[in-house]
Symmetry: D2
Subunit: 312 residues, 4 copies
């Protein structure tokens, strides 16, 4: 009997054809996998159908036809519905099916889904991504994978068609945990860099010189050396393009909300992470929802900045 | 007439022979500079005298004998006293004297000292250091220098005897500004890394694996990749040695206090920097004053950590 | 047919006989209501049995016998289990039964329970309390009630046996919302009062005089005028008794966790509420878990406070 | 020889005729005191001259003519200049002169001024006010007075002409300390009330009902029961008038800056006070500078609030 991972060209199910899911599914098609997909929006389905995918009406129907299924959904309630709802995957899932959820959700929900899948004889892995729509199109995503180690190779086979890095993180939920942790530290580093650059500029430092000094010193971080939030300091980053593109403030606020939930549930103190969450939440409320998250530099800066010296 | 910078072996004044100042002055002696020094503690003076320095009673007397003077003092009030006090440098300073202050103080005070020195025909530069006692002994300090650009070469000549990097930052006060900015971002990155590692561990991630993931991702920062606060993750850092040595929590709290002062004075918003300041302040009050600042990992962690799973 | 509220001496079910539930159930007995109770701890049951209650094995059995049931449980998962678990209330609940949950939980869970109860023809109301064990014994609790307005009178009849104030707050979940909101503002006021008193004392103000000034000015709040956290300022409060008794830091951290959850779920910015949550979380980790929440005054104060003047 | 306090109708000096100082000086005139005044703005002087005051050119000249002088200035540097500058009060102050500074400044600066005054044989007291321009006009200010207790009666005689409450707080600087402490707690209570009201409304509570519940519970504070920030809840407060009038965000940010300075200088932890400072600072930068400080309710709320339910 051929093992699942050998039978690589059997159909792959794909549920959730949004901004991220659609290019991911296309990359599976490019690699020669038949794709059986569904989404609540008919237009998204139509587009993928034109690329050669078979479209079905519900997750349950997809589960009936495919023994490897990838889901890419906006948030926890959608994942719960797609897996355990009336027409959900688990209504028709076949024994031994590999279920890979690339949504970014609460790791607790991932564990619940894994538990429910296990009852049906299926295997659930969480595999959230980092990298945005661009990386999804170019198959350059990073996948952080949690789940039973024996199934990791089978998951890897599919994920490498859609991403450049696939990292095994441990038991189910740890993929989510790794992503949440990284993004929390990212948010803290970004706001910290924005505050620091604002302060340095106010104190009379040239921004480019300050960036140089930080990057050769202990203040160095990804937000200072790779994705600097100050316009004019770097090229090819959102701050060079009026904070368009990149990783939206709303998405960062969502990930920080997950970090806050998991920290609260595990009674972990995250004072800076909590405050970063609140700052991005306020930014969403004050018109920054769709700008790149590095726009916090602009948010913290004075409007109509007075060119004259500040201070008493 | 030989210029000051050519006359390199004329005496150099040194005021402030504490943990940092003493090894710095010794490095000047090693490079063949006659040193004329003073300090309020006789023992500190005695030690340097044994190394060949001439000891005088007051800053004013030092200023009477040396036309290049370096000061290394604990805080702003000491600097004000040493420069403008009854027996201060400016009471006897000679026209054209180069005054280099390596203390870490409010840049506003640096500017006031520069202004007062200028009135006496002297030149004041701020040149705070990064690197601790070890770096001071090994002449591996980094100097961040603010002041008139034309005098920078003269300052550099002396500073390179005591440090490995000398960076020109701009007008007087910008050396302090650069140091304050770097240390504020450092504190934010360190606390952020500590929170993130704590959260990841609680969520079931292996700490070493989490560090690997962060360091190849956008969460990367100096505190995650060079000075990780989690015991067992890295060698040769304070977290591997019960948080002894390194950069004490009290010193970080002091630098964050300066960052807060300058931010308040320039009306700059530094939400994470402020909270970092408060956290290090609380740590000082709760028994962490003399531990390395990476001990925030331990501070945020539960005492008598229960090995069983946390959470409701 | 006699209405439910007229048949006032029919049995009342009571589930959850902990520190709060036990005295509450006793007060029902004192008012002449037959009580049918259950709890997972046999000792708690035994104690109430001695007072005259009938003890059954499971919530389902209680639901089979009583058409008014009060639940008082530690947290959301317990409530979900007691209502919807294998032996839960809803397995045997009779049409028209009035279910009153006095636990403090996420209002979202209250709404889910109400929805599940409604499907079975029963009515669910949330009625969390303020006031601790003392108030429970003396029937001096305050109940904040959410649910269908027509049923409020029936609920009030029972709740007035156990409390001094019963407040109708609106649709189901609003009882929880009111409690969470109050406790969040309470926590903020308490920490704020503690910080303010610490600062004033450091600045040379007499604590009693400062309290007087605050209480006649715009700084006045419940924590300054009724429950002052500074030892020696007031009598009869936990600060006068080494922070024993009162409302424990752990419980406050739990309520702030609920506030944080609901704020995150509704995308509401609560910067001070979040930070208050983190501070109480850190205090739990640093040995303050079982002290009254006003002990934050002590937590923020320097250990082994030096009697001499502070500051540079 | 008549004592100073008996000679009550001898001239009183007044320096600083801004929005607050001008009505204060007028109230002295109304009580029959001859006023000798000065200000850097000629128009302010002209206006008071029309009311009967004598105008001089400099603080020194005022000090030459009056043995009781009140100063009311915007910030610390102005106070330093007016007292110790080239044409400052202390250049001509007479022995035994009573100097009362009603500016809100760093208590450290108050102490420095007191020390400098003492050297000249004069007595300095700090007497900052609470209450705005309206209270100044109606002589309803509250004065918080710090200084030598024996001189308090003499100060009180003048201050009661301008205010309704005069409170003796202790040694010099404690008047400032009391004001700073009160305003810090006020800011924390206001932001906390705004967050709480926002959260409650999002959770479905009627704002007026929520205010009632808070005010009869432990969440009660001056900002909830006297100066509620939610439009429609109370009349006669700035929230009922589009946040016009009242106590401007800029002024609150200034006072919180003083609180932060004194806390940093005394090594006091003020986590919520610091964050409140940062929030008001951000508000100043985002267009709220001139609105009443209760507008934080609006700042934290979503722009173009969607009438539909929030949350995932």
């Amino acid at each position: 009997i051929p093992s699942r991972s050998m039978a690589s060209k059997t159909p792959v199910g794909f549920i959730g054809l949004g901004n991220m899911g659609s290019p991911m599914a296309k990359n599976l098609l490019k690699h020669g996998y038949p794709v059986i997909a569904t989404d609540v929006f008919p237009e998204s389905c139509k587009e993928l159908q034109d690329e050669g995918a078979q479209i079905l009406d519900t997750p349950a129907e997809v589960a009936d036809k495919a023994d490897r299924i990838i889901t890419m959904l906006p948030s926890s309630p959608n994942v719960v519905e797609v897996y355990t709802g009336t027409n959900g995957i688990l209504k028709k899932v076949k024994k031994g099916t590999l279920l890979i959820d690339s949504s970014t959700i609460d790791p607790l929900v991932s564990r619940e889904m894994a538990f429910a899948a296990e009852k049906m004889g299926a295997v659930f892995m969480d595999a959230p991504v980092s990298g945005g729509v661009g990386a999804a199109s170019l198959a350059k995503l990073t996948f952080m994978v949690g789940g039973v180690e024996e199934e990791y190779t089978a998951a890897q086979e599919l994920l490498t068609c859609m991403g450049a890095n696939v990292v095994y993180c441990g038991p189910v939920g740890t993929g989510q945990a790794a992503k949440i942790c990284n993004n929390m530290l990212l948010a803290i580093g970004m706001i910290g860099t924005a505050e620091t650059m604002n302060l340095g500029i106010r104190l009379g430092l040239d921004p480019k010189l300050l960036v140089q000094i930080l990057n050769m010193s202990s203040g160095r971080c990804w937000s200072s050396d790779t994705y600097n939030p100050v316009p004019g300091v770097m090229e090819g980053v959102p701050s060079a393009n009026n904070y368009q593109g990149g990783f939206g403030t709303t998405l960062m606020a969502k990930d920080l909300g997950l970090a806050q939930h998991t920290a609260t549930n595990t009674k972990t103190s995250i004072p800076l992470g909590s405050l970063a969450h609140q700052i991005y939440r306020i930014m969403c409320a004050r018109g920054y929802a769709n700008k790149d998250f590095s726009s916090v530099f602009q948010f913290l800066r004075e409007q109509d900045e007075d060119p004259e010296t500040k201070g008493d």
